[in-house]
């Protein structure tokens, strides 16, 4: 007996349905079908993941997906999720898997901060009439000027990245997302003057041409890592952890290791790609330093090295250690960060909010006088340009976005990436589904999104009387908390609204 109830129901307006059948042709989960007897379209609600593919394509607007109103007896303690998850595990004996970011109702600090604007005592600046600068450099800064033997300044900066706008696409491997998704990200990055990140799946040979806008990742599985790969990118990222699943590695099922992916990852076709929880050559901070310098050595000290960590309880001390390990950039991934697959319990219960992690890391590094030794990039649910402005005012140099980028590409956050049947052609390797993401459209949508956000960032900066993004960085006076307690305000290093 199946204890599970259907999570969603397809509501079809039978008057509006013209029986064109596009829903049936486009649903990879086989929800829709034509009943040959009644000549009406039907739905198998048990298969519906609420991805909206059918809704978006239905030409006559006949479809909507609703949450099943069928209910358990009211219980403030035992939620529907609690109960159904127990049914699932009782039926299968397995660890629950899910994907994308932590969806639980924890407080969101970005939504509890407000941004300042100029009035009277200094002027706001109109970005349509005055220059407004968003260019950002990432990497170690030289704070003590270096001079040659004759006392002349040596105008040579350390290896870094130059961004036209402080936004990058964060790591998503080829394998977890499709070839077309990668192509969209790569082309958009080149167009925008920013960077995308290969994730731990290696770099497909077709994408070496985008190397100048690529960050190549080295993760615990070392998939696809070789000399040319390291040299192909503009920066190298060592992934120590990920916000969606701190403390554990990744698992790409063999079914997704199709020919191209097997070549790119340098593993046999059809074999599971399991990256270990830790790097087995990094059990301590001094080991990290060795890997950082090994990668620098391998690339002739020409490329900045990013160390990505998940935001966990002791993040400030960890970041301080990373900053002293030779890393040029620290990427911190908050607990809302997305993933193609993670154990549900980990995704929903491990890690801390990126806002608090960022605030404490930035402050700690400043107290230790090593803030300029590294740039800070934060990710883990940057949902809008306002989140970016707030992150930078808290002290970030730039942000990483991934979920937002996928949404721009069509993702509807159904959170079933782990099934590999993404109807939007993003988190799948099925060629018929991959085809649904046309990179000619996808890259343009990414360019549009970042361009729109850039405009909005400029508007907000102008309102504050700031005409260059570097004057916003760490400028916490520009933020006020709303509905936060004193402890939260202290950690964020901001005052409450009205103060």
């Amino acid at each position: 007996m199946e204890y599970l109830l259907n999570e969603y129901e397809v509501e079809r307006d039978d008057y509006r349905c013209i029986r064109c059948g596009v829903c049936a042709r486009q649903c990879a989960n086989g929800v829709h079908s034509l009943n040959e007897v009644t000549k009406r379209m039907e739905a198998d609600n048990s298969q519906c993941v609420n991805c909206h593919r059918c809704v978006s394509l239905c030409p006559s607007g006949a479809l909507k997906i609703v949450k099943n109103r069928h209910t358990f007896r009211d219980n403030a303690n035992w939620s529907r999720d609690n109960i159904t998850e127990i049914y699932k595990q009782a039926a299968t004996g397995g660890v629950l898997l899910s994907s994308m970011g932590n969806p639980k109702d924890y407080p969101g600090y970005f939504d509890r901060m407000l941004i300042n604007a100029s009035q009277v005592t200094n002027p706001s600046i109109d970005p349509l009439r005055e220059p407004m600068e968003t260019k950002t450099f990432l990497g170690k800064k030289i704070t003590d000027i270096v001079r040659d033997s004759e006392g002349r300044i040596v105008y040579k900066s350390k290896p870094g990245l130059e961004l036209s706008v402080p936004i990058m696409f964060s790591a998503m491997s080829y394998g977890s997302i499709s070839y077309n998704a990668h192509e969209s990200l790569a082309r958009a990055s080149r167009d925008l003057g920013i960077y995308y990140n290969t994730g731990e799946g290696g770099l497909h040979k077709d994408f070496y041409q985008y190397g100048a806008n690529t960050i190549v990742q080295v993760a615990s599985g070392r998939f696809g890592v070789h000399k040319d790969y390291l040299e192909a990118g503009a920066a190298i990222e060592i992934k120590m952890g990920q916000g969606a699943k701190p403390g554990i590695g990744g698992h790409l099922p063999g079914a997704k290791i199709i020919k191209d992916i097997s070549e790119t990852r340098m593993i046999p076709e059809g074999s599971d790609a399991i990256s270990p929880a830790p790097h087995h050559d990094i059990y301590s901070i001094e080991d990290l330093r060795q890997l950082v310098y090994s990668l620098k050595e391998a690339t002739n000290y020409k490329k900045p090295v990013i160390v990505k960590i998940a935001a966990v309880h002791n993040v400030a001390a960890i970041a301080s250690g990373v900053a002293r390990s030779g890393a040029d950039i620290i990427a911190i991934d908050g607990y809302r960060g997305g993933t193609g697959a993670a154990p549900t319990r980990i995704r929903d219960n491990v890690g801390i909010p990126i806002e608090l992690a960022l605030a404490s890391v930035d402050e700690r590094l400043r107290q230790e006088g090593i803030r300029e030794e590294v740039s800070i990039v934060v990710g883990g649910s940057i949902r809008s340009s306002a989140d970016i402005v707030k992150a930078i005012a808290l002290g970030a140099d730039a942000v990483y976005i991934a979920t937002s980028a996928l949404i721009a590409l069509g993702c509807h956050l159904c959170r079933n990436c782990q099934m590999g049947k993404c109807n939007w052609g993003i988190a799948t390797q099925d060629p018929e589904l991959v085809k649904r993401l046309n990179p000619n459209i996808g890259y343009k949508r990414l360019v549009n999104l970042i361009t729109a956000w850039k405009h909005e960032i400029e508007e907000m900066m102008g309102g504050m009387g700031i005409n260059s993004i570097e004057a916003l960085k760490g400028n916490r006076f520009m933020l006020r908390g709303i509905g936060l307690n004193q402890k939260e305000l202290d950690i964020l290093g901001i005052k409450h609204a009205g103060e």
Binding site: K156, S157, N467
Partner: protein, 360 residues
């Protein structure tokens, strides 16, 4: 009401500066005359002056001007000073009782030299040692505030209109090759004397008109390098930035201007490659020292005066030059009152530093 340091207080202002290029003496009454014609740019909540070359007889000693809330703070501070410096002269700073200046703190002046043994044990450059001591007193000794700490220069400031402050300190008794003056228009202040301008550290003094929007980015950066922004004022943070870049990084005032009021990228892209390389280097490595929002500042230091506007020129500032003399002021009238005949009068562009140096 919370005073400077406990709350951030925006303010508009008037500034004025006079510089004798050949090092000739200018009487303190001139700068009072100049700043007083811009009376309406201040609101009586702060005024002050910095004079350079005013202590020739003690030119090898650091002149500390100190405000004390009470005798206890004076005793604590003097204990500290004796512990770290050789005090060659100390006295009250002479003032004149005038009706418009009230509630004055104890105002003392010390001519000091670092104790050689202390200096050696700290393994610090002499000026770094002095700067650290000043920051220490100002952040740790309650009620004591060293508001001037350079050699052969002095800052005089108070709550009141600048012309009254000048009269109070009897500036007509001082002569120097450079003077700057400031009239303050804060939106609110309880009237703490330490909050008036100029702000000084070592021989650097800054007068500033504006309200910078980059304040906290600048403050948090500079505080990583041992500075403590106790006053939360723009002038304070700008002074520390100048000290950091000029004294500690040995960058010229022109280079400093291209960091704190950096040219826009669109401008940089049109320059020749060498200049581009330099400006990109500065903007990259000292990104957090870019100052945005309106400001016009006068930076005094030994033998030098720099006038600089923010890169959009959101505050008025005008420069005039005759053969030996240079003048800078928020308004032209403040220059004309001193010198009706001017050879060259111009408004520097946003971000364009005008630097006057003593001729050898």
């Amino acid at each position: 009401m919370l005073r400077e340091g406990e709350v951030r207080i925006p303010s508009g202002c008037a500034i004025s500066g006079i510089f004798h290029k050949k090092g000739g003496n200018i009487n303190g009454s001139d700068i009072i005359k100049s700043i007083s014609v811009m009376h309406d740019r201040s609101n009586g909540l702060g005024g002050g002056f910095a004079g350079y070359g005013i202590y020739p007889e003690y030119k090898n000693y650091y002149a500390f001007h100190v405000f004390y809330d009470d005798k206890a703070s004076k005793a604590a501070c003097e204990l500290f000073l004796e512990d770290h410096f050789d005090i060659v002269n100390l006295s009250r700073i002479p003032t004149k009782k005038i009706d418009k200046i009230r509630n004055e703190p104890l105002i003392w002046r010390y001519f000091v030299a670092p104790l050689p043994t202390k200096l050696a044990s700290r393994q610090l450059d002499e000026r770094e040692y002095v700067a650290q001591c000043v920051i220490n007193v100002n952040s740790k000794i309650n009620g004591a505030y060293i508001f001037s700490s350079g050699k052969n220069m002095g800052i005089f400031k108070a709550v009141g209109f600048p012309e009254d402050v000048g009269e109070f300190y009897m500036l007509d008794n001082y002569e120097g090759y450079c003077w700057t003056g400031h009239g303050r228009y804060p939106t609110n202040t309880p009237g703490w004397w330490g909050g008036a301008h100029p702000f000084g550290i070592l021989d650097y003094s800054v007068v500033h008109n504006g309200e910078i929007s980059s304040y906290d980015a600048n403050r948090r950066y500079i505080e990583s390098y041992g500075y403590k922004c106790n006053l939360l004022t723009d002038t304070e943070v700008i002074s520390y930035i100048i000290d950091f870049l000029n004294r500690r990084q040995r960058l010229s005032f022109q280079d400093i201007a291209s960091i704190i009021a950096a040219p826009f990228w669109s401008t940089i892209s049109k320059l020749d490659e060498k200049l581009q390389q330099k400006l990109i280097y500065f903007r990259n490595n000292y990104a957090s020292l870019l100052i945005t929002g309106p400001f016009s500042i006068l930076v005094g230091s030994e033998g030098k005066l720099m006038a600089l506007n923010d890169r959009l020129k959101l505050r008025s500032m005008i420069v005039a030059e005759n053969d030996e003399m240079a003048y800078v002021a928020s308004e032209e009238c403040a220059i004309r009152i001193l010198e009706p005949q001017i050879n060259r009068l111009y408004a520097p562009r946003g971000g364009e530093a005008v630097v006057f140096s003593l001729e050898e």
